[in-house]
Structures are given as structure tokens and as C-alpha cells.
Assembly symmetry: C2
Homo-oligomer: 174 residues x 2
Amino acid sequence: MAADETRWLDDKEQALWRTIREFLWQFPSAMDRQLSVDSSMQTGEYSVLAVLSEGPATSLRPADIADNLRWDRSRLSHLLRRMEAKGMITRCSDATDRRGQQIELTEAGWKTIREAAPSHVTFIREKLFDSLDEQERAALGTALPKVLDALEACEPDPSCKDSAPGDAQRCDED
Amino acid sequence: MAADETRWLDDKEQALWRTIREFLWQFPSAMDRQLSVDSSMQTGEYSVLAVLSEGPATSLRPADIADNLRWDRSRLSHLLRRMEAKGMITRCSDATDRRGQQIELTEAGWKTIREAAPSHVTFIREKLFDSLDEQERAALGTALPKVLDALEACEPDPSCKDSAPGDAQRCDED
DNA sequence: AATTATTTGTTGACGCATCAATTATCTCTG
DNA sequence: CAGAGATAATTGATGCGTCAACAAATAATT
């Protein structure tokens, strides 16, 4: 890349970036607070409980949960350990693949997600959906996937290998 | 609040929430990775360096930085300690208010932000702005502030007190 | 069948954010 | 001026996410 061709942000772009950055920080932060206050847990734990309770299957392998949430395996592993200690989930070894496990909600886990869901959904509806009109919701629905696509071009996994090579990715250059 | 009036999300809303949730996680995560790889720092540190370098003043008090970024004081305090240890900033006690301090970038701090800025701005432009058309950018610009407004109604600080009391905040009910 | 590569999941060290508690200074009120 | 309250900033404990290294089992290759 040539010397200093950085396309800096103009004032308008900078203002928008500022807004987005604030949203990126404030929303998850407020969501964690809501869950902490109302249900003594955080977003990560809620997400795992939700995935396990929503799916058609009664048990899932950690890799499935990780894929569903697009999470790091390690993060999930740590979280599952804590959740098992709290009695939210149980693990049994997978018969067909002895590396894997089957993760299942316990009764306490079901109770927890059932009790946490109403206030959490209310939070999302009130703070997020109710703040936006139909057009804005639609715009988010089309805009954000594009950004996510752009991000996938350069992920931590070695998934960089199967992305379009012609288009100047910045996975290791500087 | 009455028994079970939770307005659950329908399929369309759930899909949108899923997208937003993924964006909320993946974007900051990718941004941290970019900064780590290219500049050996993370978003928080970059933000502080940016605020200090952008402002008209050559030095700022921690409270000003915290307000600018809408951060917790404690978070900033910890971060400033680490940044001071790395030689990025210096502190001098404020003459007019002996509780406060003046935070200033060191030469090393200036060098760091100057070197980190191009690739970071490029990341934001390529992954975020370039992925969106003008209409989508405008939509974000109007939509997100509304969400942020809704969030401000219920913050950790005792700022709950000066928000409209008629409108059923959920700061402590359940 | 034997070797290699890939996939599944765990672990430990480390850095960071959060919360509650604390110190020091300032401001307001009487 | 004295005392109550507010504000600036720090501290320590705790929990979480990340990274790199690892162990175990399966899949692919020869």
C-alpha cells in the first residue's frame, strides 16, 4: 500500500462513527446491566440458555452452540464450566463421537431462562425496537449483514484462505 | 405490570435481533483484533489516545475524558494507570482543583496514535462505511441516537432521577 | 494398517471491565 | 467558619474473554 493514502473520515463521517461506537458500547453494557439486575446473569449466559432452549433438539454439542452464536470455542468452554458449576446445564459424552459431548439444560436451567426471558425481551423491545420505525428497522436489516459479510473476510480462524484474494484484504499486511 | 403481557418477538423481529446481536459482538471483536495485530493495543486504549490527540486542549482531566467517551470513571482510572506504566501519558496535578489531574500525551503517546490511526481508520472505512450506501448510513445516523436516548433513561449513575417519571422506566421493578 | 492432518474440547495465564468501598478535595448551607 | 453533601479519582476483588498451548479422538492419505 502506498505511502499515505489513508482516506480519513470527514466531519460527518466522524459524527456517525461516534454514534455507532457509542451504540456498540452502550447497548451491550445496558443489556448486561438489565440482566444482572433482573436475573443475576449476563448476556453470554443468557445467549447459551436461549440457544439450548430454542432449538428443536434437547441437547447440543458445544461446537453447535459455538457455531450458532459465532463464538470462540474457548469462550464457550469457560462459560459452560461456570454454568455447570451453577447447575444450569449437564454434560454427557456423545456416543457417536467420543471427543464431543451433549449439553443439556437442567430443570434449574429451564427455570432460569423462563424467568429471565420476559424482562429481557421487554428490554430489547422497549429500548431497541420501539425506538425505531419500520423503515429504520428495515435499514438495519439490510445494512448490518453487509458489514458482517465484510468482517468475515478477516476472522481469527484460518477462514482467510477461502476469501476472494483479488480484493486487497488486510489480514497481515501493514 | 400485569401477569404475562410480554410482547415476544415474532420471527422477523427475532431474525433482526439476531443480526444486531451478532453485529454488536463481531464488530468490536474484529476491531480489537485489528488494533492488536497492527498496533498492539485495544479499542479502549485507542479511544483514550484519540480523545487526547483530537481535542483543542493539550491536556484533559480524567472526568472530561470519561464524559467524552461516556465511560465509567473506574474503567478509565485503571486504563490510565496501565497507559502511564507504558509511557503513553503523563499526569500532573491540576492547580485549580487539587482533586483533579491533567492528563497529557507523551511523545511516545503521540507517536503511537499517529502510527495506529491510518490502519484503524482504514479498518472502519473498509468494513463499515464502504459496506453501506448513503441511504443506509443516513438511516443509522437517525436510528441509533434514538436507541441511545432510550438507553439513557436507565443508566448506572443516579441519572434515573431526572428522567420523565410518567413513562414506566424499569430501573428496579420486576 | 500406519502416518498425518483435522476436529473437538479443555486449560492456564493474562488483560480488561465492573462493582462497591475509600480517600481527598471542593462546595454549599447554615 | 463548621459541618454535610457532592465530586474527582483510586483501589481491590471478582468474573469474563482472549490467546496460545495442549490432549484426545476422528478423518484423510499413502
